[in-house]
């Protein structure tokens, strides 16, 4: 089935994009890699009058990192560019591993990080990594620019905090605490390309005091950070006991559904197991 009709616009600057959205916001859809948008359009689930291709905008390209400001990833940066970054591999392991698990290498030549979060699927692989890394989303419109903490960005299945005239310019990740490590584990039906049955990102640091964060995909209407995990590491006990306590808090922090890929009970079970696995991996317990 052919795609429905639309007009194609390719702005060259952020200002141009701002004015296009100010004028046509509710009738327009942005396109980065198009790997979600074109599928949704083919299925007639979205019918934009205007498709606005953002890949011609220089300011949205490229990622940068520095010791003070941390990591900034522009809206046109592809997942393969993220995987190729040494800094991300070394300091933002959860983001690196999530990008490496998303779809397949050919899709990742086009698919972007920002497209992944703006699509706001509960299964978005990069979202848990951004949650454990305290990312901020830089949103821009004719009214100016604002920073949205990633925890406030997802509003429901396929819904975000963005207004119709607003777009994401970049995502910022602060430098993680000293000695922090992070990783993402994805449970799928096959070794090849598949959406997550459950995805779990963890971040662990300890310079005197434990900082432990765990966030999950595919277990609630939005990707979720489970705050109780931190409490499990505040009290006494051995590391193994803390991990068990952390895993025991998972079912209370999620609300999975049964769908074509698996049932809710299975998701709850796997979520706790993956939480233990990712924490054990980050704590060097094999």
């Amino acid at each position: 089935m052919p795609l429905p009709e639309f007009d194609y616009i390719r702005p060259k600057s952020v200002e141009e994009l701002v004015s296009i959205l100010a004028k046509h916001g509710s009738e327009a859809k942005l396109m980065a890699g198009g790997t979600d948008l074109l599928v949704l359009m083919r299925d007639r689930l979205v019918r934009p009058r205007y498709v606005v291709d953002i890949k011609g905008i220089g300011e949205l390209q490229g990622l940068s990192w520095d010791e003070g400001r941390g990591l900034t990833i522009g809206a046109a940066v592809t997942l393969n560019e993220i995987i190729a970054s040494e800094v991300i591999r070394e300091r933002f392991g959860a983001l690196w591993s999530a990008a490496s698990e998303l779809a397949d290498p050919t899709v990742r030549n086009r698919a972007t990080l920002v497209g992944n979060i703006c699509n706001a699927s509960p299964a978005a692989d990069t979202a848990p990594a951004l949650l454990v890394h305290n990312a901020e989303v830089e949103a821009v419109s004719a009214k100016g620019s604002r920073k949205i903490p990633i925890e406030d960005f997802f509003k429901g299945v396929k819904r975000t905090a963005l207004g119709p005239d607003e777009f994401v310019k970049a995502v910022h990740l602060p430098n993680p605490p000293d000695g922090a490590k992070s990783w993402y584990l994805k449970w799928k039906r096959t070794w090849g390309e598949d959406l997550a049955l459950v995805g779990v990102a963890g971040l662990v640091a300890n310079s005197g005091k434990w900082i432990v964060r765990v966030a999950l995909s595919s277990v609630a209407p939005t990707p979720v950070l489970v705050a109780e995990i931190q409490n499990a590491f505040e009290g006494g006990g051995t590391l193994e006991e803390k991990i068990e306590k952390a895993a025991a808090s998972i079912p209370g922090g999620i609300c999975p559904i049964t769908d074509v890929r698996c049932n809710a009970e299975y998701r709850t079970h796997v979520a706790a197991i993956l939480t233990k696995r990712v924490l054990r991996k980050l704590l060097g317990l094999g």
Binding site: F6, D7, Y8, G34, V39, D104
Partner: protein, 157 residues
């Protein structure tokens, strides 16, 4: 909906065409350029049979608009011969019988060739990873992987 004039170099030849925005690169290649070696199956990015190179990068052409490739260079299975000779991946596919029904073959050869250009001696894992976005419903993966690995050895000689 207004058409856009695009100019694209496909397999070395320059084409100028007016395209509707909704035309995919896959439709453009098969229907406007008549290059039917690139196959159309799922049209939603899952099967990878429409894989072509855009400026040398493997790309699922069903998820790209033709207007987006204005000024770019496209390589399809028809453009892989080295003069009158088959390229090493094409030759290895024949030697290994890595073809059953043949419908996925162009995509695997295009993606396999792109891998060897980037990484002339891949491991088996790297081959599997690189072609992971392409499905063979006859499930002849073993021969396909062996052929790409063998072509990499041939290229090193």
């Amino acid at each position: 909906m207004s058409k856009h004039k695009i100019s694209v170099r496909a397999n070395g030849q320059l084409y100028e065409r007016d395209v509707e925005p909704r035309r995919t690169l896959l439709q453009f290649i098969r229907e406007d350029l008549g290059l039917t070696g690139t196959k159309c199956a799922c049209e939603r990015g899952d099967c990878g049979l429409c894989t072509v190179l855009v400026d040398g990068v493997p790309t699922k052409s069903c998820l790209v608009l033709a207007v987006e490739v204005d000024g770019k260079e496209i390589t399809t299975i028809e453009g892989l011969m080295e003069g009158e000779e088959l390229n090493p991946v094409q030759r290895a596919f024949i030697e290994h019988g890595a073809v059953q029904c043949g419908f996925c073959t162009p995509a695997f050869i295009v993606a396999g060739g792109a891998l060897l250009k980037r990484n002339p001696s891949p491991t088996e894992e790297e081959v599997k990873e690189a072609v992971g976005g392409i499905l063979c419903r006859c499930t002849g993966y073993r021969q396909i992987i062996d052929a790409i690995l063998d072509a990499s050895k041939g290229a090193k000689k």
